[in-house]
């Protein structure tokens, strides 16, 4: 399947732009970011369930979520505050991963109506430094490499 999500991260810069067009009216795209139940659903994955602990959808409101595994262990947590919350248009927020050495990042989410049934999300993320951006960009790559390595070990141990 074609990857619809595009990432622009110019070398030497400390920001990135994530864009994606959705086969959804802009109101539903926005609702997926504003409704705690729905947000938790799409942020969950096969390794963990995401629960929204706080989502105060207003200027100076704060937000917080955590992802727990099947045994209830917290795998990941993040939180921040809203600086703008404009229905069906724009969310400006800070984003901070809990229990990591990574500095807080600033995120601008813009919601755009394309047609009655389609919409576009642009996420502009600004990091403290270019090095931090590159490090965070590499993390899923490192995890992928790790998984490939584990798979290889599984295969090798079966051959033995």
């Amino acid at each position: 399947m074609e990857l619809k999500t595009k990432i622009q991260a110019e070398e030497g810069k400390q920001d990135m732009l994530i864009t994606r067009e959705f086969d959804l009216p802009v109101e539903l795209l926005f609702k997926a970011h504003a409704d705690p139940e729905l947000f938790g659903q799409w942020m969950s994955h096969e390794y963990g369930t995401t629960k929204v602990l706080k989502l105060e959808n207003k200027k100076h409101g704060s937000w917080q979520f955590e992802t727990v595994d099947a045994k209830g262990n917290v795998l990941y947590g993040a939180g921040g505050v809203f600086h703008e919350f404009i229905q069906n248009q724009k969310i400006t927020r800070t984003f901070e991963s809990e229990n990591t050495p990574f500095d807080v990042q600033l995120e601008f989410l813009e919601f755009e109506k394309l047609t009655d049934e389609t919409s576009k999300l642009s996420m502009h993320i600004v990091y403290r430094t270019g090095a931090l951006r590159d490090q965070l960009l590499k993390m899923p790559f490192a995890q992928g490499l790790n998984m490939a390595h584990n798979r290889l070990q599984d295969i090798v141990s079966k051959i033995k």
Partner: protein
């Protein structure tokens, strides 16, 4: 002897892949890298020189020690290291789309 190595040869070895994984998140000294493996230190050094030779790793002098870090430019050439990051967001957004489609039809 032709010492020219290509990146694919370099990443064919599991120890070398594990080294790349180690330095993906932070620069490390040869000693710190070697501490993660049971293999003899000279063997690890050999792997490091192969990875450096084909520019997957970059060396940086830090006081008396040499630190190794991932050469993102070269990694991009072989596997586009941004791709897994993009895939992560694409998976998330695909999920968002299918959840909201179901929500709409309710």
């Amino acid at each position: 002897m032709n010492l020219r190595r290509d990146v694919f040869q370099a990443i064919a070895d599991p120890t070398r892949r594990a080294i790349l994984l180690l330095v993906a998140s932070q620069a490390m000294s040869a000693g710190a890298i070697a501490a993660n493996f049971d293999t003899a230190r000279p063997t690890v050094s050999k792997h490091l020189s192969i990875l450096t030779e084909c520019e997957l790793l970059k060396q940086e002098q830090n006081g008396r020690e040499i630190f190794y870090h991932l050469n993102a430019k070269k990694m991009k050439a072989i596997a586009d290291f941004i791709e897994p990051f993009r895939k992560m967001w694409d998976d998330r957004f695909n999920k968002l789309e299918s959840i909201m489609k179901k929500y709409k039809s309710k």
